[in-house]
Symmetry: C2
Subunit: 257 residues, 2 copies
């Protein structure tokens, strides 16, 4: 069973599209406590989680000890819940192959996020792991002109992020796309261009995205959608309650969609 | 003295624009031998190196042991030679801040490579380290449609990689750009758009780039250019001789430029 099939099954069984971000922000806890905190979050939220998503940067910033905590964290996720490594790698040739090896064989991720800028050659080594999943960064939520490039209008009459959606979906029969929660119009546009692509939608909660608007724009079908919350669940006094709250908000939005 | 000043001084003192890639390809040696191999390469090539460039992927693929070898490697580079971490990160907000912390405070790099796709917000945390340097991925050497996106023609009449060169140079008074050695026409175009930007040109040697053509396109001024060779020096029977050969080839090309 490949990643997308696993994700679909998990999402259906839990009636949840909640992706729980596991992102230890610097200074919030000593590195020695990260793995134990993550294990508590995983234990509390597992019944409501379609997927877990550790972000590599938050472990790498703690050096070797942080990366050991990442390994412990991935190992602690129950086998029926896929783990998406938010690594946003993008390089070519033997470097891309090395990143794929690291993501899948060292850290044990079931899927990764990747940058589109260097094209198919940067994605192909990841495709050589047929059981694994890929989400291409397409249209992100951000301030400070972060979407200047993504919104660039091409001569062909579409915007760059639309071209990314078009090209990425030619790279593989199934490939996911990352679209920020604060951009529901763009989510709808990406969904129109890539009807079958699993969409990873980060940025609900702390980053200001409206989960309901996002899910209405993306559609709600098991395996075709992951809505990721990081701080809102990870630092909640009661992570289970926070996960249930988001799951239910997304269920209500999908019922209205 | 910031990274660009250090690079300029080093390049002037050695009359070299050679950037020595330190990239242990998987299976070429046991992980336990990587640090010792790197130390030999560094010792042999230091008189001819303007810069060293370890590529993060090649260490990450070996897991914790590989990343320890990376730390030993960076620590072994003489203090007057800058170390450019080829990490190609690209993310926003607190994630970008975590990647900057990792690159500069955990691994000890003096400069990094970054993706442009998520814009200024993804670069700003790196700019908050004023002594460090940044090279934005602009136009890469590649096959398999890897330049499909980069070559996209925008409505404004320029190509995407040209827009990246234009935007990136607004992000900071000095910012570097990555332009592949196999694309001399594009190097010349980027140089025209960004006359003062340090250019990192990977892909000579094993990847088929013509170092002479690259340097003629880029111009040759200390601190404004780094030509990176990885396999050609790193795996040479005599790394010093290989570094001298590349240095001299680049000197001859610059004399003709």
């Amino acid at each position: 069973m490949n990643f997308y099939e696993r994700l679909t099954r998990r999402s259906r069984e839990t009636d949840s599209v909640v992706c729980v971000g596991l992102d230890p922000h610097f200074g919030r806890m000593p590195v020695a406590e990260i793995a134990a905190h993550n294990l508590r979050v995983i234990e509390a939220t597992a019944p409501y989680a379609a997927c877990y998503k550790p972000n590599f940067a938050f472990y790498e910033q703690y050096g070797i000890d942080g990366l050991r905590a990442l390994q412990e964290t991935v190992a602690a996720v129950p086998g029926d819940i896929p783990v998406l490594g938010d690594v946003k790698r993008g390089d070519i040739g033997s470097t891309a192959a090395a990143y794929a090896r690291a993501a899948y064989e060292v850290w044990g991720f079931d899927a990764v996020t990747l940058h589109p800028y260097m094209g198919l050659e940067s994605v192909r080594p990841f495709l050589e792991y047929p059981d694994k999943g890929i989400f291409i960064v397409c249209r992100t939520s951000a301030n400070e002109g972060a979407t200047d490039l993504q919104e660039s209008m091409l001569e062909s009459g579409i915007r760059l992020y639309e071209a990314v959606a078009n090209i990425a979906t030619t790279w593989s029969p199934i490939i996911g796309l990352v679209v920020g929660a604060t951009a529901p119009a763009e989510i709808a546009r990406v969904r129109a261009l890539a009807p079958d692509a699993p969409l990873l939608i980060p940025g609900v909660g702390a980053q200001g995205g409206d989960a309901g608007a996002a899910i209405r724009a993306a559609g709600h079908r098991p395996g075709s959608l992951l809505v990721s919350s990081s701080r809102g669940i990870y630092y909640a006094e009661d992570p289970a309650a926070a996960a249930i709250e988001l799951r239910d908000e997304l269920r209500r939005a999908s019922a209205r969609a």
